[in-house]
Symmetry: C2
Subunit: 702 residues, 2 copies
């Protein structure tokens, strides 16, 4: 038997861009993927002999490297069940085969009502990716597919088969045998392997993969070839040394300004407001003094061993400034200026010059076009957006844009009670990018959870490798902007046509344990929740509400939208809730707490009810929907803080059906004491849904 | 040919509960649904003759009223393409047919790769409902189906075929002909007709309905029979006279209390706080005076011609109290007491006594177990939850529970700036229920939009009839609690098995133009938006943001989640936006407004930008994401009020990326002046998505 390499080499010498069905399947068979019995025949007598050997009914197909859409072109004769039919079919097809320079393929007829599609496509960034989905006529119409990067683990194969909408047809439906999932998983992993081992295979489609008696059989296959391009080796840039950004001993502001409200002044104000403990050096040709600090006339005049420079200068002089910094031994800089590739051609040239300066000098760069970064444990920020003192906490952000170092931080600071640890607005990411930052945050004891806003990945494969590790110990929550842009769909094969950037990246992120969110607000709502409380151990929620309507609606949404369970309580819990409630109400999960509150007081009802469910072994997290109005009573909320402290292993969130002033007061009281509150009753559940997914990602098998 | 009635009658006399495939299809054919060519034969020779007539290949099936799952039982022989195969197949099946007391059906073999399912099931409340969806092995596994009540309009047929997830397979896919949608629509309407005209048909399944060359053909069919039960005629209750609840001239509180914080006292406080203009009479055996009003010792002592009584008395004496009211000519009462059927058996008996009292007297009743109702144009409320003065507005609520007359109203009053017109907490709905209220609100000039929270429909068919009319002129927005409960799935036929309450009601609500929401919060967020602004004319949105990340994320969500378009602007608009912005940014929709704001001032940027998109013929609604921080500037917001007034035909909503205090101040300034604001940036879009659906419902064809 010819090796895969030989098959490919022969095809290239024949000038083929695709392999024939027969050759495509020989490759599949080599990797253990079950294929149809089949033979290429030269003459009618050969066809007869083949059909006898294979057993009727058989299928005849025109077999050529060119015949890509055989059904549409009438190059297939199905269900041939005797010699005479075979003869007629052979005659019809051989004429067409002659036209196309092909031969005739005699193939066993595989019957099965479940048609799947599996395939491999080579993503520009991520390399070979494997697809699984519903095949046959549904392939494009339903686009019910999932992707994973190669190599696939068993866990990946299991997840990707389970995540298509139609996954139930893999089970025993309509008297059909359940699909052999182990075998299916093996096929998917094999496709990944083919992609990894044969760079000349650009795409591979198996469509349909028919399920016969529970077993997958590749009934048609197409391999698309492309001579592998020698990999463009990007000149290696220096990495490491991020500590200079996050823990600088001393800092220079190049382009310091004495004019209030200018970036070169605001950045100094911010540094002072945050009580930076190191030395601060200012540079401006005018010299003099700004805000009590001496101003040096040039970089050369600065003292030695400065860790970090913040450069607030016009784009045009950035490359030279980087070289000047390097000459002075400053090996980390933040570039605030815009006006690079994001603007025009001139900016592009400037950007190239800047990259060259970075490469030549080994200086590490955040930006350009960044609004800065923040490191509260070090009492430091390079943000030039006037923020004042930034609250310290355990949440770290990595953002493509400056929002989290500017106006969104301004909102968080003024409207929420959680703080941040490290925040970077990466701007144009000429050097420091998300995967290196993620690696740094992963090791950072000050960072409990990592929130990211990205529009692109600078080094996607590297990012996913890093994320894959980080997410086993810290939650990584990503909002990926630009998600609806579809990839090109002029591709030859189905797999490539269905491989929109978003579908591929979605699969890869799941593989890496990164939890995607789609709401901008979740970047601070979930942050608030995770900042104060542990992750839930699972997705089993209990909640206490003052109204039947809220109980019903939130239970509906837990099931329908949030993937949260509202399980039965332990009997002793249920009994206790019953004991504190009037007899006319049957207590269960979720907890209708108002009757108990009326009978025993608001505080008693909520306190006892919440403690009961926090104790319950069936419950991973609790949400309290507090009713506080002047008329129904305004309890002291100390009991909630006390509960949160006594049950530190389970998240407890508070939301309201209350008068606005009491909601505000409760927030102001509870949040600084470690209990997150949410104005709308859906919000704590949305957040729990995100955090339960983070926990699940932590527990995924390697 | 036998009539449908004869076929059914014969089946009943034979003791059948189902019709054979052959008989089922005769009924379909009678209603113009294309079916397979087929003949029931008695002997092998008959089969041969039939096959010749029909043309090979044919299918043989065992035909009996008992054979429900023929494939699973091996009662079908497919793809018989000659005499000898026919003979063998006939022999195999005839034995089984003999066993089952059936005959052999010779049928044309229909080939087509698209298998649909259509069916009819009789809903207990809604009568015959028609199903459409993906058939064959996908039927239960994907459950990709939609329902509509009979009779169906063309619009209904078009909507229900378009709303399944797999609807694309109806188009021209994979070289297949597009499905003849008119014919498919005719089949669906015909099923509805069968259901309406033949009450003995409980269920009807056509599965598969195969698409052959674009044309639907019923390949298998099953009719399930049931002797129609004589319809239980509920004793007719009086309707009408709701004006006594909403516009009472004078009111009696039966069970008035002098003790503060008791319901019988709070209700009086509420009536006084709302400055009710009519006479207020109090009843309590103790007599005396409460809050400056004389107290009558009994109902009998009251003066004549009282319009409405609010009864705050224990459940046990409610039936007698209703009779006492009637005796005094009080023909409308609100029953606050709980303790009826929602509690226990004793309560059930009491509830029956109450119904009898209502029927005997013709007294109209809201409740029992209601927290009251409100009618602000009449300065009246019967709520006993201490609310004080309830703000007047144009939003009306119908709620199954009391929330909107109690704590949720307390939140709205304290946290939002819109007012209400009519609000009813229906409680146990012994008499007044949602369809009658909906009818009243429809006519009510004080009501602009109707928001409902329901857990059940008292008269579903009536409700949908009324809603169907109302929604053509006023938005009706419904949160239906208890939506995840699935119907019984032990049904014989597919249609019934898939007919969960929620799927059926979902289809029926769409037919009626009712817009469903699932978030409790939307009941006041959407209300706030609709209260101040017109409905958008369509779903084309423009928005202005101070940040690229927000532009990208909201555009993604508009497409992915909200069904909103973010269309190109007119060239003149685009040009104007470009003129007011720095040259380095390319302006378009959505609008990146911050560069213009930096160059020309925050107010100028937002004002000019917003006016430009409001003027644009391609835009139906605009959202302004305002950046207001101390540092970037706090403009006067008069210009927003001015814009809203000058473009009254397009909704304009405001949300923020701002410091909390400025968000609060903007809300306090803008909302009383008619511009709704939303704290989270997703919220105005969520609301627009709901309102665009309301507008679409208004424009649906009859």
């Amino acid at each position: 038997m010819e090796s895969v390499e030989t098959i490919i080499a022969k095809a290239f010498s024949a000038g083929q861009q695709t392999l024939s069905e027969y050759d495509s399947k020989r490759i599949l068979a080599e990797y253990g993927i079950p294929t149809t019995l089949e033979t290429v025949v030269e003459a009618h007598t050969g066809a007869e002999a083949a059909a006898e050997r294979i057993g009727y009914p058989v299928v005849l197909k025109v077999c050529t490297a060119e015949a890509v859409h055989k059904t549409e072109q009438g190059l297939i004769e199905l269900g041939i069940n005797d010699k005479s039919k075979l003869k007629q079919a052979y005659e019809r097809l051989s004429l067409k085969a002659w036209d196309l320079g092909g031969k005739i393929l005699v193939q066993e007829m595989v019957r099965g009502s479940r048609e799947l599609v599996i395939g491999m496509t080579r993503d520009f960034h991520l390399g070979p990716c494997v697809m699984f989905g519903l095949g046959g006529i549904f392939t494009e119409a339903l686009a019910d597919v999932s992707f994973r990067m190669a190599p696939l683990t068993d866990w990946d194969a299991q997840e990707m088969t389970g995540e298509i909408r139609s996954h139930k047809i893999l089970e025993s439906v309509r008297g059909l045998k359940a699909v052999d999932m182990e075998m299916l998983g093996r096929c998917l992993k094999a496709l990944g392997q083919i992609g990894l081992e044969h760079p000349a295979i650009r795409e591979l489609d198996v469509n349909p993969l028919i399920i016969r008696n529970g077993q997958p059989v590749a009934v048609d296959a197409l391999v698309v070839l492309e001579k592998p391009q020698p990999e463009e080796i990007e000149p290696k840039m220096v990495t490491g040394g991020l500590a200079s950004f996050f823990e600088p001993e001393n800092v220079a502001v190049i382009g310091a300004s004495s004019t209030p409200h200018k970036a070169g002044n605001d950045v100094i104000q911010n540094i002072l407001a945050n009580e930076f403990g190191g030395d601060l050096y200012l540079v401006n040709p005018k010299g003099g003094e700004i805000l009590g600090h001496k101003v040096y006339a040039s970089i050369q005049d600065l003292p030695d061993s400065i860790d970090l420079a913040i450069i607030i200068l016009p784009a045009a002089i950035i490359p030279q400034t980087i070289r000047d910094c390097a000459a002075k031994g400053i090996m980390a800089v933040v570039l605030a200026a815009g006006g690079f590739a994001e603007v025009d051609e001139q900016g592009e040239t400037l950007q190239e010059d800047t990259i060259r300066a970075i490469r030549d000098t080994g200086v590490r760069v955040i930006g350009p076009n960044t609004s800065g970064h923040t490191s509260t444990p070090h009492k430091f920020t390079s943000s030039f957006f006037p923020l004042g003192k930034i609250p310290r906490g355990n949440i770290s952000y990595i953002a493509q844009t400056g929002n989290f170092a500017t106006h969104t931080m301004s909102y968080i600071k003024s409207g929420e009670h959680f703080g941040v640890s490290r925040v970077v607005g990466m701007g144009n990411k000429l050097d420091v990018e998300e995967s290196e930052l993620l690696e740094y945050y992963a090791q950072d004891p000050e960072t409990k959870a990592i929130f990211m806003y990205l529009e692109s990945f600078k080094k996607p494969r590297r990012f996913l490798e890093v994320a894959s590790e980080v997410t086993r110990s810290k939650p990584v929550i990503l909002l990926k902007g630009g998600a609806t842009a579809e990839g090109a769909n002029a591709a030859v094969a189905h797999t490539a046509a269905l491989a929109s950037d978003d579908r591929i990246i979605d699969g890869a992120l799941k593989q890496a344990g990164v939890v995607r969110v789609f709401d901008y607000s979740h970047l601070f709502l979930a942050a608030k929740a995770i900042s104060a409380m542990p992750l839930p151990r699972g997705n089993r929620v209990s909640f206490l509400a003052p109204s039947g309507a809220m109980l019903v609606c939130m239970t509906d949404l837990c099931r329908r939208r949030w993937g949260l369970q509202v399980p039965d309580l332990e009997e002793k819990t249920r009994q206790y809730l019953q004991d504190i409630s009037p007899p006319y109400i049957r207590m269960r999960n979720p907890v209708d707490i108002w009757p108990a509150a009326i009978v025993n007081g608001v505080e008693f009802g909520y306190r006892e009810g919440t403690e009961a469910v926090l104790k319950d072994a069936n419950i991973d997290a609790a949400v309290m929907i507090l009713m506080i109005t002047d008329e129904t009573g305004v309890p002291s909320l100390d009991f909630i803080v006390d509960l949160a402290q006594r049950y530190p292993e389970k998240p407890l969130y508070v939301t309201f059906s209350a008068q606005k002033k009491h909601m505000e007061a409760a927030k102001a009281f509870l949040e600084p004491r470690g209990v997150p509150t949410f104005p709308l009753i859906e919000e704590p559940f949305e957040v729990l849904s995100i955090l339960a997914r983070c926990r699940q990602a932590m527990g995924r098998r390697p």
